[in-house]
Amino acid sequence: MKQAELMLRADNVSKSFGPEGAATVALSGVDMSIRAGEFVTIVGASGCGKSTLLNLFAGLDKPSSGTIEVNGKVALMFQEATLLPWLTARKNIELALNYAGVARSDRDARVAELLDIVRLGDWADKRPHELSGGMRQRVALARCLAQGARIVLMDEPLGALDAMTRDHLHDEIESIVKAQGLTVVFVTHNMREAVRLGDRVILMGSRPGRVVYEQSVPLKRPRTMDSNDIASRAADLTNRLKAEQGILEGADS
């Protein structure tokens, strides 16, 4: 069977911050390949370089050594929705369309379409402070889609949300990603979330940040966070991370 097109590749990538001699090594020898249509989740403890890696893929930073290959346009979604507070939901999305080069005459229809995708059609003219945390992230998701990128990088986008909202958004992200045929790299520190969403889970160790384990998740979709399969895989990942960090095994995720 022919393999899907390679969309993202990190080849022996290292990244250090600070002056030479006293530099902090954030990433060391990271190798990663992500193919078209894959939903890859990256998990690891805080400070393991997950966000640094996303910044490198997004072109916001350059690796200290090694190479990053990106095959197509990339959109990035942050932990905080980072909506511009002086613009309505509609205008926030429209700004992304403007930068993506969408003609002014086509923007209104496209904004309406995107707001419908994230089920916020009735909230178009609300400003960010008038929306709940979950709604703000949905607007951010619509803005992310507005960029017309085939690769979407998500940096703990649901980390600040309550469990119920997060569950709803899992379903929503999953269906949007499938419908739009996107390639996704989703960073999280929540093991269950990683297994719930990912076709493949990459576990990163810290100091320095590197890939320590990789697991494909052949579970059928739709999945739920509290299913036994997800719980046991998440527990396995947690134990691997603890072992990697030198912490005794035993606790559940």
């Binding site: 959109a75 511009l84 002086w86 992304a96």
Partner: protein
């Protein structure tokens, strides 16, 4: 029925709000006028030196009926408006340049703050020598009075733009001009408006000092009205003019206050106003 009740509740609520907003101001005015009247009645100073509020407001109403008074208000407001707009344009350009260009900030960043704290009246001797006793001298000092506050407002506003916003701009693909136009400057707006408020107060003070020092023949202004009233010992007119100066200053400040509150409310930053 429900709608009627709701609208009645809303009316009562807005009436209550309006009263809550009005009574402290009315109380303060009554307190000042009462104190002034008591001071007048105590004959602490003779009435030709310190007239009472009744005589003063009578003088104010009489002044307000003259063409010369409105001409004076027009001259002063035109100077204030022109000077402030000039200061706004120059201050904003300098502010953006200093915030963006590092060597420029190192070179003149402190000078702007120095200019801001320098009493504008200290510029007048030089302004009179350079420009003469004319409008340019007044405008020069008004611009120098207001410009640094406006520039500092821009610089502080840009410095405090959350890095997440500029990062977002880069992620969305904004070029340097679009980044400033669409993200950095709008994000800096609340601090910029605070700079404008301060700039206005400096402009107004500089203008009053200028109108007292630079008297241009056949051009009545609030400053000259004040000075002539002092020279002619027309104390009720003098105090009446001071009240007008105070009221105009407060009126413009309240316009800025309204703009500033709207900006904060639109961004979900207003606490309770």
């Amino acid at each position: 029925m429900t709608i009627n009740n709701a609208s009645r509740t809303q009316t009562t609520f807005s009436a209550r709000n309006a009263w809550a907003w009005t009574w402290p101001k009315l109380f303060a005015i009554a307190l000042v006028l009462g104190g002034w009247e008591l001071l007048f009645l105590s004959e602490w100073r003779p009435s030709y030196v310190l007239p009472g509020p009744i005589e003063t407001f009578d003088a104010l109403f009489k002044m307000a009926g003259t063409e010369r008074f409105w001409l004076a208000v027009k001259t002063t407001m035109t100077r204030a408006g022109t000077g402030f707009i000039l200061a706004l344009v120059l201050g904003s350009i300098v502010g953006i340049a200093v915030a963006r260009i590092k060597p420029l900030r190192l070179a003149v960043g402190n000078v702007i703050t120095g200019l801001q704290v320098m009493p504008s009246i200290a510029w007048f001797p030089l302004a009179i020598l350079v420009f003469g006793l004319n409008e340019q001298a007044i405008l020069f000092v008004v611009v120098l009075g207001a410009g640094p506050s406006i520039a500092n407002g821009v610089i502080a506003g840009i410095d405090h733009v959350p890095p997440a916003f500029t990062r977002l701009g880069r992620v969305l693909g904004a070029g340097p001009i679009a980044l400033y136009r669409d993200i950095v400057l709008p994000a800096a707006l609340p601090t910029y408006v605070a700079g404008l408020v301060q700039g206005w107060s400096f402009a107004w003070r500089s203008l009053m000092a200028g109108e007292l020092l630079v008297i241009i023949a056949e051009t009545p202004s609030l400053g000259t009205t004040l000075d002539f009233a002092r020279q002619m010992s027309k104390v009720p007119e003098l105090i009446a003019t001071m009240i007008v100066i105070l009221l105009i200053g407060m009126l413009v400040d309240s316009v800025f206050g309204t703009i500033s509150r709207k900006i904060r409310r639109d961004r979900g930053l207003a606490i309770d106003d």
